[in-house]
């Protein structure tokens, strides 16, 4: 039974007061360019998931609290939360750096796009 803290309202409680919403930072292609979406892009959006053993980034909702969605960084092995952050935010820099595998690739790409 995990303890989750909502970064929006500060409510801290058991995981059963929250709703898990799967992987974070998935881009919905149709929102940006509804016309040109390849089958592969659509597959990646709908099905391909980062599934790291270790640091992961995910979505939660303060289901029995303020009702707001937020992001969390969590280790999938120790189940320890490393950070809670806003639903339209990226994780803290140091966690982006700590990320491995597909997550590391993702954050690098985001940083590049920004630069």
């Amino acid at each position: 039974m995990l303890v989750v803290t909502c970064p929006v309202c500060g409510a801290k409680g058991d995981e059963t007061d929250f709703h898990y919403g799967g992987q974070a930072h998935i881009r919905r292609p149709a929102t940006h360019d509804p016309v040109n979406i390849s089958d592969e892009e659509q597959r990646d959006y709908l099905f391909i998931r980062n599934n790291p053993k270790g640091l992961h980034f995910e979505r939660w909702r303060c289901d029995r609290g303020c009702g707001k969605w937020f992001h969390a960084a969590r280790d999938t092995q120790s189940l320890e939360f490393k950070a809670f952050y806003g639903i339209i935010e990226l994780p803290p820099e140091e966690l982006q750096k700590e990320a491995k595998g597909p997550w590391a690739d993702y954050f690098k790409k985001r940083a590049k796009a920004k630069a």
């Binding site: 039974m1 016309v35 709908l46 979505r59 909702r61 009702g67 639903i87």
Partner: protein, 1006 residues
């Protein structure tokens, strides 16, 4: 023997000799004393035999002191209150307790299953994997039924449990597990430092093993020290003490479960309203494990005979209960602690001698024993035990560490053995959530190492055996825990007494006491007593390649009995270590799984049984439906009226009557369960365009539109009518089951994808009672209630909306229809719902109004070819599949599911499409879910081309109708397809359009 031959004339700190208690064991009425456990009360009467082992059905008696007991398992209580597999050492005696032994037939002393024991040579570990394979059918029909009957331990009750259970949630800064001197000291230290402390102990009284521990603390005995701290702790405002409570599991983020036996020891509490068990759900800031250490048995030949106990257990029997384990005994040890047992026995007048594997025991206690003229065979082991249903003698043999078999031995008559192979720190809770442990050679056991959680171990649990060190360590642990949780610590600290205790000599590792023969040739050195796993079995597993300790465990079942290896795990590793020549840490250790000791399923369910199991949602009209004799059906969490049979009517007739009433007169439906969501904001219309497949931004204020929703995979998930209340304000209806899901779905998209939209979504389902008044006379009923309201087609056309009053009730009225008839849905605030319902029924009387239920509704809509999400769709159905292409916008650039709908497979050929079916025989109703086949064959397999989604006998059309999803269905109009049913019958049906009644839709606008 008669009377209570083993009850000593003096002593027994826990018993009250003035309060005899009558109870029964295996039908025999016995008498014990208040404070006894079932184990001590039975043993006081002279009975040592408590049960039979799992595989060989060998006779077994009490071995342990409490939770570690693996042999003396009993069933307690009668009838619906019977509970199997309880450890007799933990069952507190109460007047009228009934108990039985288990796993024997016909009786404990004469057990036919013991026959197995004679052939045990043919049943080594894992033997069943090698046989029982021929002939093939025999496993299921011959071998397995026999094994199943023989296996299992006690019997389950055969009726529903009459007792109550509950949960309690608690948060504590510090949770201390174990109320011995370590736990008590840690509790006091943490509490005076300002922390809120929860102290949990599984025993009825605090103190742990203080009362059987040597030493002086200041002027007090260790026992008195424990009592003094317990008394102080009991008065602290920031401490909550739970006794008779087992900390069962430690989980992520310092979550713990503890299992309190509130009333098991006293039926009067149950009668007064107490729950039988209470499950504590605990969130700890910091956990201190003061769970002590469990004594290890020693593996020697026939070490399982009744009368062979752990040394501390034997000592506690005398000290606490005034019960002697026998008349003449041998203490067999490899360490100093067991000498205390010898002293206690001698003092109680029981003849005793000591066998010590160590050649030169050097501690204070052995010296004291020799000074006290207790006979000690140093450098010796017990090589074999004689006697079958009890101990009659032991053979004592000279031994040097590592010796494989003994040469000379002497026989000594005795009737019990108290053994001690050393102590294992109780690591279960430490390990449940991944704590690391390390092997300690001095202890010859594992002790806590590192842990990722805020948790520490103190005292015996940490491998600390001395009283003085335990107190220091526990006090420090308590203070540190308080500090880690609360930041700074109050100045007050507890003062520790000065301790004097005997100097301990070193323990000598002894996993296995050799016998004269090869131990694997007939001698049974039990490691796991309950599951009958011997040292030879473990070695066999190694020889056969089951080298991983997990393989050995699973192959032999070692450590898998109801004690979960409490006494056997380390001994087994020791044997494996000696067999393989690998040190124990390399052998590894099997995983500790929760719970520490088994706890009741009833306590897990807690209060959530019967009506409280899961909530049933009720509409404001619920009681009316009940009073009217409605048959209900669950819809999501709701109970909806399915139909309202009149006296003498069956469901079928009642449904038909309701349908015809709507078609010919007027019916009233409780539609309060429909989801209702208010959506408001400048971007509300655009937002809805994203959510629905069709367009809502073009909807006029005051008008209604039916909408379809898909998920991102392009499959239908919900539908309903949405009303535009104002330019920026909509009221969405969802399916009854979809209300919460869709509200959350809308919120999710708003918060996570279209964050720029200014839209508020507020679910209001429960604010409103909502009814459908449907049928050709609906308008007349409403007009009677509110003559001034304009209900005419012109003033209030189909798919429009008005607010106003109806018979004095404030209402929202929607001219919408799911029956195909002229229909108004009326919503009024929920607390007024029942009043309005009654008013409508009253007003409708003269027009022949009748309530109709969900089944009539379903037939009515099927006659009209309207889909039901979940019937015509199954989560893989697209709008195209059900023929609603017209509701999928071609203009909108993007809406949820649009892109997936373009996926080749979803648009591809041979999709199943919604069609109507008319059976050739109009009286033949196709079964639910029946499949049509391409070609009927004599026998399966047959290629299937689609299935029935809804099927009814239509009273309106006086014939059967069905809807179905059929491969390329829309291109096959008029084709007759075949449905092969069970038993060879084939029903033929013609494919038609799905609208069966009033095809031009005139009645809706009537």
């Amino acid at each position: 023997m008669s009377g209570k031959p083993y009850r000593l004339s003096k002593g027994g700190s826990r018993i009250d000799r003035s309060q005899p208690i009558s109870f029964s064991f295996d039908g025999k009425t016995l008498s014990g004393l208040a404070g006894d456990t079932l184990a001590t009360a039975v043993m006081a009467s002279g009975q040592k035999l408590f049960g039979r082992s799992f595989k060989y059905h060998r006779p077994r008696g009490v071995v342990g002191l409490g939770a570690e007991e693996m042999n003396a398992l009993v069933g307690v209580g009668a009838g619906a209150r019977h509970e199997p597999n309880l450890r007799a050492t933990q069952v507190e005696l109460y007047s009228g307790l009934t108990s039985i032994s288990q796993n024997r037939w016909p009786s404990l002393s004469f057990d036919v299953g013991a026959f197995n024991s004679l052939f045990s040579r043919f049943f080594p570990g894992g033997f069943y994997y090698k046989t029982f394979m021929w002939p093939q059918a025999f496993w299921k029909h011959v071998y397995e039924p026999f094994i199943r009957r023989a296996a299992g331990l006690g019997k389950a009750a055969d009726e529903r449990d009459p007792d109550a259970y509950e949960h309690m949630h608690i948060h504590a800064d510090v949770v201390v597990v174990g109320g011995g001197i370590a736990g008590l000291t840690a509790t006091e230290a943490a509490a005076v430092s300002g922390a809120r402390v929860l102290l949990i102990d599984e025993n009825p009284v605090l103190g742990g093993i203080a009362d059987i521990t040597a030493g002086k603390a200041g002027d007090s005995s260790v026992a008195d020290l424990a009592k003094e701290i317990a008394a102080r702790v009991a008065k602290l405002p920031n401490v909550h003490v739970l006794t008779r409570t087992t900390a069962a599991g430690h989980y992520h983020h310092n979550y713990m479960l503890a299992f309190e036996r509130v009333a098991d020891h006293d039926p009067a509490l149950l009668a007064a309203g107490a729950p039988r068990h209470r499950l504590w759900r605990i969130r700890a800031g910091h956990v201190i494990l003061a769970t002590g250490a469990l004594e290890r048995p020693i593996a020697f030949a026939n070490n399982d005979r009744p009368g062979i106990m752990l040394a501390a257990a034997a000592r506690a029997m005398v000290e606490r209960y005034g019960v002697a384990p026998g008349t003449s005994g041998v203490v067999f040890t490899n360490n100093d602690d067991a000498y205390l047992t010898a002293f206690v026995l001698k003092k109680a007048g029981v003849a005793v001698r000591v066998v010590d594997s160590r050649a030169r025991p050097e501690g204070d206690l052995p010296k004291l024993a020799m000074a006290d003229r207790i006979e000690v065979d140093a450098g010796s082991v017990i090589s074999v035990v004689e006697g079958s249903s009890g101990v009659t003698a032991v053979k004592i043999a000279a031994y040097r560490r590592g010796q494989g078999r003994v040469i000379t031995e002497k026989k000594v008559a005795c009737d019990f053995v108290a053994m001690s192979g050393g102590f294992n720190p109780v690591l279960h809770l430490w390990c449940h959530n991944g704590g690391k442990i390390r092997f300690d050679d001095a202890l010859a056991s594992f002790r806590p190492h590192t842990h990722g959680d805020a948790i520490t171990a103190a005292g015996g649990a940490n491998g600390t055996m001395s009283v003085a060190e335990t107190l220091t360590e526990a006090a420090a642990a308590g203070e540190a825990a308080a500090k880690s949780v609360n930041g700074k610590v109050k100045a007050s600290k507890i003062k520790l007494p000065k301790v004097e205790e005997p100097k301990r000599g070193a323990l000598e590792t002894l996993w296995f006491a050799p016998a004269t023969g090869k131990y694997n040739q007939g001698n049974k050195h039990f490691i796991d007593f309950q599951n009958d796993v011997t040292a030879a079995d473990l070695e066999l597993a190694q020889r056969e390649g089951y080298e991983s300790v997990e393989h050995t465990k699973r192959y032999t079942t070692f450590g898998m009995a109801t004690d979960q290896g409490k006494t056997s795990n380390i001994n087994g590793l020791g044997v494996l270590s000696e067999a393989t020549g690998k040190p124990i840490p390399e052998i590894g250790i099997t995983t500790f799984r929760p719970p520490y000791t088994p706890y009741s399923f009833g306590s897990i369910a807690g209060a959530l049984t019967k009506d409280l199991f899961l909530p049933v949602r009720r509409t404001p009209i619920f009681q009316w439906h009940v009073d009217r004799g409605a048959v209900f059906e669950p819809v999501g969490q709701w109970r909806r009226a399915y139909t309202y049979p009149e006296p003498g009517e069956d469901k079928h007739r009642s449904i038909n009557r309701e349908i015809l009433c709507v078609r010919n007169k007027v019916g009233l439906l409780d539609a309060s369960t429909l989801g209702k969501i208010e959506i408001k904001g400048p971007d509300a219309a655009e937002f809805l365009d994203r959510m629905y497949t069709n367009t809502f931004s073009t909807l006029k204020v005051g008008k209604c539109r039916y909408g379809l929703m898909m998920n991102e995979l392009g499959f239908l998930t919900d539908d309903g009518v949405t009303v535009r209340l104002d330019e920026d304000h909509f009221l969405m209806h969802t399916t009854s089951g979809g209300a919460d899901r869709i509200a959350a779905w809308l919120e999710e998209w708003l918060q996570t994808e279209w964050t720029q939209y200014k839209v508020f979504v507020t679910p209001v389902t429960e604010q409103w009672a909502q009814f459908a008044i449907a049928g050709p006379r609906a308008r007349e009923v409403l007009a009677k209630l509110e003559p001034d309201f304009h209900f005419s087609n012109e003033a209030f056309p189909h798919m429009s909306f008005k607010t106003g009053k109806l018979g004095g009730y404030p209402v929202r009225i929607f001219r919408i229809s799911f029956s195909g008839e002229q229909s108004y849905e009326v919503a009024t605030p929920a607390n007024l719902g029942r009043g309005l319902w009654d008013a409508i029924m009253e007003a409708g009387k003269e027009f022949g109004i009748a309530p109709y239920g969900t089944e009539a509704l379903h037939v009515l809509r099927a006659e009209k070819g309207y889909i039901v999400i979940g019937d015509e769709t199954d989560g893989t159905t697209t709008p195209y599949d059900v023929g609603l292409d017209g509701l999928v916008s071609k203009k909108k650039a993007d809406f949820i599911g649009k892109r997936s709908l373009e996926q080749a497979y979803l648009k591809g050929p041979n999709r199943k499409q919604l069609v109507g079916l008319l059976t050739e025989d109009p009286n033949e109703v196709l079964p639910d879910g029946a499949y049509a086949v391409r070609t009927v064959k004599d026998k399966p397999p047959m290629e299937m081309i689609g299935q029935v989604t809804s099927t009814y006998m239509s009273p309106t059309l006086n014939r059967s109708i069905a809807m179905a999803l059929i491969e390329n269905g829309r291109a096959r109009m008029g084709e007759v397809i075949s449905f092969p049913l069970e038993g060879g019958k084939v029903v033929k049906a013609k494919i038609t359009g799905a609208v069966f009644y009033d095809k031009d839709g005139g009645r809706i606008h009537a």
